[in-house]
């Protein structure tokens, strides 16, 4: 309490003309709120995709912030007579990972791709050639399965331009050759027998987890004086005591900004309003502070506000957003993290949403980088060939609160370590 009041005072001195939440004391809350910079964005604008990520423009397709995808066709395309295509080329196309991940991501397909680690989200098609399906049905199911099932997980491969009409005919010709069960070279290749990955590394051991650098860096930044002569330590001189549980209560609805703030955006806005430090989201300083603040609350069960009217409304929006089909692959969060849960997407195991939040920000061994949850959201979007939103977008806030609510009770363990 005392610290918060002091912080407001500091902010009033150094923030000048900034609008500081709480300075006017009009919150209908028991605790005096921490000062926050309310103007401007907490991340770079215009948002630019990270270097090294696919640079493609997906603006023709839905995002979590915008509906842009063309409507699904109403009727199947007429196919007269049997489809004749190049089955050998079809066999190559279904395993071509550059075309949105390939059919093998979800289907076992007999010998295609040497039956190397296929997924099992969708039916095994190894004997589809015996199923008596009409060529028109096969063609349209690949071209745009929504004409048969509006909610299908199957991406509209033809409508969204992943494959040409001729290529889809080659794929249909290949499907018609599939008449016997897949033969796997090793038991691991069979998704029905592949054991789910088990994470056994001690993520809080610096020799196991290189991401622990961020805890050291966060501690340094805590005491680093800003140009105005203030540091976090000016007001929070015993962070281990005063932040023992805080991060486990985030994200939280912020009435002045009318959106859900996670730890990362809170850090950006609170630092600006108090010490004046410039720690925008998705910079190393911000990541380090977020990791450190989560680290201080490690072991605390996640418990976010889900009871207030504002939180309930935000979670309801998060639920809706999680069902929105986005990107050229036309997939929703719930397609992978609902329908596909406890299945393999090619060689990747899809865990339940519970367990996908308690370790963020997390060290990624495949990337040698720390990702916070918003960057993870962004990568999901880009990975399904959709434009990401800026990390401080309201939509990601709603989604984060919904995800945190699904992880309630799990103890924070940050930085995590994942592949």
């Amino acid at each position: 309490m005392r610290n918060d009041i002091l912080a407001t005072g500091v902010a009033a001195i150094i923030a000048g003309a900034f609008v500081v939440a709480g300075a006017s004391g009009v919150y209908a809350q028991a605790k005096k709120p921490a000062p926050l910079e309310l103007k401007g964005d907490a991340a770079a604008r215009p948002w630019k995709r990270y270097p090294g990520w696919p640079a493609a423009d997906y603006s023709k397709y839905n995002t979590l912030g915008n509906l842009a995808s063309a409507p699904a066709p109403k009727e199947p395309r007429k196919i007269v007579g049997p489809v004749t295509g190049d089955a050998a080329n079809g066999a190559k196309l279904v395993a071509d990972r550059t075309r949105g991940g390939s059919c093998l991501a979800c289907h076992v397909m007999g010998p295609a791709g040497n039956a190397d680690l296929p997924g099992n989200v969708a039916p095994d098609l190894s004997e589809i050639g015996n199923a008596g399906r009409e060529d028109e049905w096969l063609y349209n199911y690949v071209f745009d399965a929504r004409v048969y099932n509006p909610e299908t997980v199957m991406p509209p491969w033809g409508s969204h331009g992943f494959f040409s009409e001729a290529e889809i005919k080659d794929i249909v010709a290949f499907l018609k050759t599939l008449k016997s069960p897949a033969v796997f070279k090793t038991a691991l290749d069979n998704p029905e027998k592949r054991p789910p990955p088990v994470e056994k590394r001690d993520n809080l051991d610096p020799i196991e987890n290189p991401g622990m650098w961020a805890v050291d860096k966060g501690q340094e930044l805590w005491k680093e004086k800003s140009a105005a002569g203030f540091s976090c330590n000016t007001c929070h001189s015993d962070p281990a005591a005063s932040f023992k549980t805080w991060a486990a209560s985030m994200p939280k609805w912020e009435p002045w900004l009318e959106k859900v703030l996670g730890v990362e955006e809170f850090v950006t806005r609170h630092a600006k309003a108090t010490t004046g430090a410039d720690w925008p989201m998705e910079t190393d300083s911000n990541r380090a502070m977020s990791v450190y603040l989560h680290f201080l609350a490690n072991g605390t069960p996640i418990k976010v506000d889900t009871a207030s009217a504002e939180a309930k409304a935000a979670i309801a929006r998060g639920v809706e957003l999680s069902k929105r089909k986005v990107g050229a692959l036309n997939m929703a969060c719930t397609d992978c993290h609902g329908i596909a849960v406890n299945h393999w997407i090619r060689g990747q195991w899809m865990g339940e949403p519970k367990g996908q939040y308690d370790h963020f920000p997390t060290w990624r061994t495949s990337l040698l980088a720390i990702w916070d949850i918003r960057q993870r959201f962004q990568w999901c979007s880009v990975n399904i060939r959709g434009d990401e939103l800026p990390p401080d977008s309201k939509e990601y806030g709603d989604l984060e609160l919904y995800l945190a609510s699904q992880n309630e009770g799990l103890k924070l363990s940050v930085p995590g370590i994942r592949h």
Binding site: P51, G52, P206, I207, P210, W213, L368
Partner: protein, 107 residues
């Protein structure tokens, strides 16, 4: 600025005991096999040698290729018959050397 290695050596041991040692040096281990977005090869820059000595005598060493992961990690053992000092040395492709020492008391 050279980075600080992370090292685990027991503080004490019995005479003749075989102790476990773990070391990690933060380092990107640029393989020389990757290309940047303009298609140019990113030059190799790795730790190519790691040496562990005890009281000046060789205990364990490794000649390292780019196939060792970033932040090179080494776990190995040492038989200690006397108190003394472990010295660890990492050699970079650019010739720079990082060293660290850890003492152990043998009773």
């Amino acid at each position: 600025m050279a980075e600080t290695p992370k090292i685990r050596v027991p503080k004490t041991a019995k005479k003749g005991e075989i102790v476990e040692i773990k070391t990690l040096l933060p380092h990107i281990m640029e393989s020389g096999q990757r290309k940047d977005k303009d298609g140019k090869t990113i030059p190799r820059k790795i730790i190519n040698k790691f040496v562990a000595e005890f009281n000046g005598k060789p205990v364990f060493s490794a000649n390292i290729e780019p196939a060792i992961a970033a932040n090179p990690y080494m776990q190995f053992f040492a038989k200690v018959d006397e108190s003394g000092t472990f010295k660890f040395t990492w050699t970079d492709d650019d010739g720079s050397v990082t060293t660290a020492e850890e003492k152990i008391t043998v009773a």
